[in-house]
């Protein structure tokens, strides 16, 4: 009887191992590299454009519904309301002198990557090529380029160096949840993540609230389609700059999709 029981347990253990192994194999179906060991080499990853699940291109207009006074108009010197500057940052802000900026040819300090998305502006977003998304603004006539892949250029200008990637839902939502009625394909949603470094020192607001050359700006571009048909672009920003800020500076800015270029009016930078 004892022998018989031991045999039974052994069989049970073996069966469990087999089932476990089988389940493991089955479980790694999705996400495993096609072909596997000994098969054809995996295809190259899709380009940023090909991998896009959301369409950010087109004309977008800023909806200045938050920090309205600070964004629509130039706030007075020393007005840091809402912005977590540290003492050093406040000290630099207190030295803001637009005339000095103009004299130095630095009228665009508030139009750099960490400030431009908060401006009352329109955006024109296009694919420059399969790996580069271009964002133009009419306020200050700025151009930002987001590269999918290795960073490009030395930076040091107002817009710095921006590296983009797609940030899709985690955990991945199975395609079969979205296939019906949508013609199959990839599920909608997801965000574009952009990390920008090597910016020329600038302002997060026109009244001289500073960020440094060492600042790191992380942005998420989300598109939301409201049931009534309008589309919104929301840009969530996190600016990390210990030289000027006591904590990461978080904002989220909204844009409404426009059918065309109506209202597009490029203007030069203004320090005032």
């Amino acid at each position: 009887m004892f022998q018989r029981s031991r045999k039974s347990l052994t069989v049970l253990a073996a069966a469990a191992l087999i089932v476990a192994a089988a389940s493991g194999l089955a479980g790694q179906g999705r996400g495993a590299a096609p072909g596997g060991r000994g098969g054809a080499p995996p295809p190259p990853p899709p380009t940023g454009r090909a991998a896009a699940r959301i369409d950010l291109t087109g004309y977008w207009v800023a909806l200045v519904t938050e920090d309205w006074r600070h964004r629509m108009f130039t706030p007075p010197k020393g007005d840091y309301d809402s912005v977590p500057l540290n003492p050093a940052g406040r000290g630099r802000a207190d030295m803001w002198d637009p005339a000095k900026d103009e004299a130095a040819g630095e009228q665009c300090r508030a139009y750099g990557a960490a400030g431009i998305m908060r401006m009352p502006t329109r955006l024109h977003i296009t694919w420059q090529d399969d790996t580069t998304l271009k964002v133009e603004t009419d306020a200050g006539s700025q151009t930002r380029t987001f590269t999918f892949g290795p960073s490009q250029g030395p930076g040091g200008d107002w817009q710095g160096v921006s590296v983009a990637s797609w940030d899709y839902p985690q955990p991945p939502v199975p395609a079969q949840n979205f296939g019906r009625g949508r013609g199959g394909g990839l599920p909608p949603g997801g965000a574009m993540k952009v990390v920008t470094t090597s910016m020329r020192p600038g302002y997060v607001r026109k009244n001289g609230l500073p960020y440094s050359a060492n600042a790191v700006l992380t942005e998420y571009f989300d598109r939301f389609d409201v049931p009534d048909g309008e589309s919104l672009l929301v840009v969530v920003q996190e600016l990390v700059d210990p030289e000027n800020f006591a904590s990461p500076y978080w904002t989220s800015s909204h844009f409404r999709r426009q059918p065309d270029a109506t209202g597009w009016k490029p203007t030069p930078c203004s320090a005032r």
């Binding site: 469990a16 629509m72 007075p76």
Partner: protein, 646 residues
């Protein structure tokens, strides 16, 4: 270690391994409803559960200490919204019933204070039933239903947080909210109406949660208002989740009919914001235009008179009309809504009908317009097999008594046959023509003036209440519940009453309060604005809220959706404010034509305004004017001299 032990451990290990593989493998699942798919819901695209602290790096002053007065920049307010905000005096929150006003859903998300989010799952199949969002400030509890349930009927009650349903779309939770109360878009009086709906998007990037709210308010906004809020995930429970509020006496000796507000053009702080920041006066008053980039150029060219023009209604314009959706069905059917316990509201035939149903029978308040009475009777018979025993009328107006005769005929007052009163009644009936078939019909109750007015209008005898009262209170104990009827003299007519079901704590207000129109002050039949304000305050003295101005005593309006004291309060405020504006013009000897031309209801017209039909905005203003004008006394009330009291 014995062989047996080794084998046992191996088996246990394999079992654990097997279980682990299953747990790892089960993340994504086919959608419910797929042929042959297990009935397991898909994993949500994002996990919102946990503790979140708002990151107030935008509009910190507004969200913290409080926003500045007359700062409406970036809000797409229409004229009504702007004027409503300019009329608002922040000391209104010292009024007892406003002290515990909660925040409407989009403002709740904007409030400082921490948030806790948790999931409610079906214990049997682990399907996601709801996502709960608890805001520390005002104990704001949003329930986002994820189980596909429909939104309530248009005549269902509103709450500050409203009724929300959600679904995962891509990397976002998309939430649709309806049935909110009137509240704030900003704490300086920038209003959000009870007609607003909201679309929320919740999206998470690591430990950074962003909530985007899109408020669509046809009453106060020219276009949807888009704002966003950011939160940082917290690893631990902050602990403090309560926000107790109980109203009290903040300022003594104020009259009941005092509501702090500013007359049009008289907001004393309207220039404070613009002067402080050296902005044009019009800048923060410009509404929709102020949202867009080109506004800066326009604002820099603005003159002082551009701003001054925005402080009061635009002259020479027709009154706006209501942008509110009608909560009354027009499908030719009667819809039954359970209000609380055994009290129901029937809608679909004119004025709302209340029914208290139980073992004794049905007690019906008002009978509608009389076009669908058979359906109403059938609906009542589904609530109780016993007959309709009592019918009470809150008014003599046709849409409240239209079904009296038919409904009384369908009922029976079984307490009367065989009684002493049956014999007396039969004898009296021969004389009066009112009590002819004792007990065979329902007994109809109303204030005596309802009977007088109906008789004066030559209404059929069978539709006229015969069980009338003269004093301020009539009471019954019916279906195990105290039922009180209170007379409200010279309000919309001279025969108005409210009915209070005390156990269910439901008040039937008749046309003293509606959610659909300006009050129908019937001056010819004894209605007065002062009497109406007294009546509304009387209702407010009987109500109790459950939590932060939500719930508690429920109020069935003459028309519109089931309410509680907050809707009555906003309605009372409106009547008082319009009265004060008319009175101010009367004090200046304004004529009726001048009063009408002043558009004194401009901030309420997109909610209640009507320019044609039985009861228009102009008629309401005229009624207020007529009852305030010193030379014109209201029509002599039919009420006899009040009883002497010691």
């Amino acid at each position: 270690m014995s062989a047996l032990k080794r084998v046992g451990l191996l088996a246990a290990f394999c079992g654990v391994a097997l279980l682990s593989v299953r747990l790892v493998g089960q993340g994504p699942q086919p959608a419910a409803g797929d042929a042959g798919a297990p009935a397991t819901p898909p994993a949500p695209a994002i996990d919102l559960t946990g503790y979140w602290s708002p990151v107030v790096h935008e509009d910190a002053m507004e969200r913290g200490a409080g926003s500045e007065l007359a700062d409406y920049g970036g809000f797409a307010l229409n004229e009504a919204g702007r004027l409503w905000a300019l009329s608002y005096d922040p000391s209104r929150v010292t009024l007892r019933h406003h002290q515990c006003d909660a925040y409407v859903a989009p403002y709740q998300m904007r409030a400082i204070g921490n948030f806790r989010v948790w999931e409610e799952r079906d214990p049997y199949n682990q399907r996601l039933v709801a996502v709960h969002v608890w805001g520390q400030t005002t104990e704001g509890h949003r329930v986002i239903w994820m189980d596909g349930r429909p939104h309530p009927a248009p005549w269902a009650p509103h709450t500050f947080r409203g009724f929300s349903t959600g679904r995962f779309v891509g990397n976002a939770l998309v939430v649709h909210t309806t049935h909110m109360k009137q509240g704030w878009l900003r704490r300086n009086g920038t209003p959000q109406s009870d007609q607003a709906t909201v679309t929320d998007f919740f999206v998470r990037h690591g430990d950074h949660l962003t909530n985007i709210t899109v408020v669509n308010d046809p009453v106060f906004l020219s276009e949807p208002e888009v704002r966003s809020n950011d939160y940082a995930r917290q690893p631990v429970d902050h602990g403090a989740w309560l926000y107790a509020c109980d109203d009290g006496e903040q300022i003594l000796d104020r009259p009941d009919d005092f509501v702090p507000h500013y007359l049009f053009g008289k907001q004393p702080y309207a220039r404070e914001f613009s002067q402080k920041y050296k902005l044009p006066l019009m800048a923060s008053l410009a509404g929709q235009a102020s949202v867009y980039p080109e506004f800066l150029e326009r604002a820099t060219k603005a003159t002082e008179s551009d701003g001054v023009a925005l402080l009061q209604p635009s002259p020479g314009r027709a009154n706006e009309v209501s942008k509110a959706a009608s909560p009354e069905p027009k499908d030719g059917d009667i819809h039954t809504f359970k209000v609380r316990d055994n009290v129901f509201m029937l809608v679909g035939d004119g004025a709302n009908i209340a029914v208290q149903a139980g073992d004794q029978g049905a007690f019906v308040i008002d009978t509608g317009a009389g076009k669908l009475t058979d359906k109403i009777v059938a609906a009542i018979q589904r609530l109780t097999p016993k007959p309709i025993q009592f019918i009470a009328n809150t008014s003599f107006h046709a849409d409240h008594v239209g079904g009296n005769a038919r409904m009384a005929e369908a009922g029976a007052d079984l307490s009367l046959p065989g009684s002493f009163f049956a014999n007396v009644g039969g004898s009296l009936g021969a004389v009066t023509g009112l009590i002819t078939r004792v007990g065979e019909n329902a007994t109809m109750i109303a204030h005596n003036n309802v009977m007088v007015r109906l008789q004066g209008a030559n209404a059929p005898a069978a539709s006229i209440p015969s069980d009338t009262f003269l004093e301020d209170r009539r009471r019954k104990f019916y279906n195990g519940e105290s039922v009180e009827m209170f007379y409200m003299p010279n309000a919309v007519t001279d025969g108005d009453s409210i009915v209070h079901f005390r156990r269910a704590d439901v008040i039937v207000a008749g046309d003293l309060f509606t959610t659909t129109q300006y009050p129908f002050i019937d001056v010819k039949n004894g209605g007065t604005v002062q009497g109406l304000i007294r009546a509304l305050n009387d209702i407010l003295k009987r109500t109790v809220f459950e939590h932060e101005e939500d719930g508690g005593t429920l109020v069935i309006p003459g028309h519109g959706y089931v309410s509680n004291e907050h809707e009555v309060l906003e309605y009372r405020d409106m009547v008082v404010i319009v009265r004060d504006r008319v009175q101010a013009m009367l004090n200046g000897s304004a004529t009726l034509a001048q009063v009408k031309a002043a558009r004194l209801t401009a901030d309420y017209d997109t909610r209640y305004g009507v320019n044609s039909g039985q009861w228009t905005t102009e008629m309401f203003v005229e009624a207020v004017y007529q009852t305030l004008k010193p030379a014109a006394a209201p029509a002599a009330p039919a009420k006899p001299a009040p009883a002497q009291r010691k």
